[in-house]
């Protein structure tokens, strides 16, 4: 969603939109506007200098890379003996879905960019373009805490597993941790701890299994693992060729891996201990805005600006489903699974939420209500509800 300035990435985003010229024009105009906002962070002169390089070695490397990609696809194709939806024909179809908005959380003064549930299944932390981070009690809709960050566009926020702290960051290039005080009068900003330092915006953050470590992804193209107490960098993950926009940790039973998605259209699976990229998937046609592990840990879903969501099977090492419709032409900004993994919720830039049958590949429901882009979406820890945040300044809890 937040475009990198690299000219060739601009072009590829443009060509991926195959609908009417009017939409391309509008999209380009929006891209230009967003680009202007990021110009301060990017040296154009350096960019121009790098384009002029001896083309022979690059051409040779490119053809070697293409040959390897073809080989990889051949190896993967050998095991592609059946489609997921074919295997799923025996599964009972889902009934009709009626999901209602149960709570609307109002209070942000600008676009809601990110949200996360507390493990207690009732508290929610959300962050906004205006720099505010708010902790809500979703049952009562009361605001329990509010922090004003020193930057705008707080694109990432996360609740600590203990429920005693929240982490957030954005255009300040950092991830900071705020311990939540029981004393409502205490100034949370005073106890703030700066943990992560990137060289570009923070796009996503997540605590690992404890309050002690945080995983971050950034517009600088890397992900990193940090020790919260000391602020020390424990491991960094290099492999994306452009901004990394999202990440998700594997469910704890399945070991120490996480998946990240970026503007280079790739989704990478990483080993947290070694820093190595284990698997990589490049089937999306545009930026990957959101990635989420399947509850069993054997697969993950992604949502992209190419208006599709996809499911990747980690053991078969390939994409096994695409969730798309001709009528859906706007990007998917965020995805999450229901508790069993049967449903995939996707929040889109056309203000709707589409609910997909993961196994059969069909859409089971479309939810309206938001008055602007849906930017973030998470199912609650016990699966009883899900919350969506939007550029219309509100969050909605539905079930």
């Amino acid at each position: 969603m937040y475009p990198s300035i690299h000219p060739s990435i601009h072009l590829s985003t443009l060509t991926s939109i195959s609908s009417s010229p009017v939409i391309i024009y509008v999209h380009l105009a929006v891209q230009q506007l967003q680009t202007l906002c990021f110009l301060a962070n990017f040296p154009l002169a350096k960019m121009a200098a790098q384009e002029v390089q001896p083309s022979e070695t690059i051409a040779k490397l490119k053809s070697e890379s293409e040959a390897l990609k073809t080989k990889l696809e051949e190896e993967r194709a050998k095991l592609h003996d059946v489609e997921l939806h074919q295997v799923a024909e025996k599964v009972d179809p889902l009934g009709q879905f009626v999901m209602k908005t149960r709570r609307t959380l109002k209070g942000h003064g600008n676009k809601v960019l990110c949200m996360d549930w507390c493990k207690d299944k009732r508290r929610i932390v959300s962050s906004s373009q205006d720099g505010k981070v708010i902790v809500w009690d979703a049952f009562t809709t009361n605001k329990e805490h509010a922090v004003t960050m020193p930057c705008t566009w707080v694109m990432a926020c996360a609740y600590a597993p203990s429920g005693c702290a929240v982490a957030c960051g954005g255009l300040d290039n950092k991830c900071s941790v705020y311990p939540l005080s029981l004393d409502k009068n205490e100034n949370l900003a005073a106890k703030k701890k700066s943990v992560a330092m990137h060289t570009n915006y923070l796009s996503a953050c997540s605590f690992t299994n404890s309050d002690m470590q945080i995983l971050t992804s950034s517009g600088d193209g890397t992900c990193a693992l940090w020790d919260v107490e000391s602020g020390q960098l424990l491991q960094s993950f290099h492999g994306h060729a452009a901004d990394v926009l999202c990440l998700d940790l594997a469910p704890s039973e399945t070991g120490n891996t996480f998946v990240s998605g970026g503007c280079d259209k790739k989704a990478n699976v990483w080993d947290m201990r070694s820093g190595q990229c284990i698997q990589s998937f490049e089937t999306h046609e545009s930026d990957i805005n959101s990635v989420r592990y399947y509850p069993s840990g054997d697969a993950f879903a992604s949502g992209s600006d190419d208006a599709t969501c996809r499911l990747y099977d980690l053991r078969a090492d390939r994409e096994v489903a695409i969730y798309s419709k001709e009528s859906i032409i706007f990007g998917a900004s965020s995805v999450d699974f229901s508790l069993s993994g049967r449903l995939l919720f996707g929040g889109y830039n056309d203000y709707t939420i589409n609910v997909w049958d993961v196994l059969k590949g069909t859409r089971v429901s479309i939810l309206f209500g938001h008055e602007n882009r849906v930017s973030t979406l998470r199912v609650s820890p016990d699966g009883t509800a899900f919350c969506s945040g939007s550029w219309d300044h509100t969050l909605r809890v539905r079930e």
Partner: protein, 69 residues
């Protein structure tokens, strides 16, 4: 960082990574897809968003009016 790398370095990084990935072990989709379906079917019965939550146990139920007895 990716932004500071030249196109050549990015390509070299890609090639190294691809060489590793080609050697990964994989399982046939028929086996993994079946296991995905089995996992879902086992869990679906307990999925609150599919089966619904009875109103009396629903923490998000509508805040109704008061009943004075």
């Amino acid at each position: 960082m990716a932004r500071d790398m030249s196109d050549k370095d990015i390509l070299k990084m890609e090639i190294e990574q691809l060489q590793k990935e080609v050697k990964n072990t994989r399982e046939p989709v028929s086996k993994t897809a079946k296991e995905l379906c089995e996992f879902v079917e086992a869990q679906s019965a307990e999925d609150p968003l599919i089966k619904g939550v009875p109103e009396d146990k629903n923490p998000f139920k509508e805040k109704g009016g008061c009943i004075i007895t």
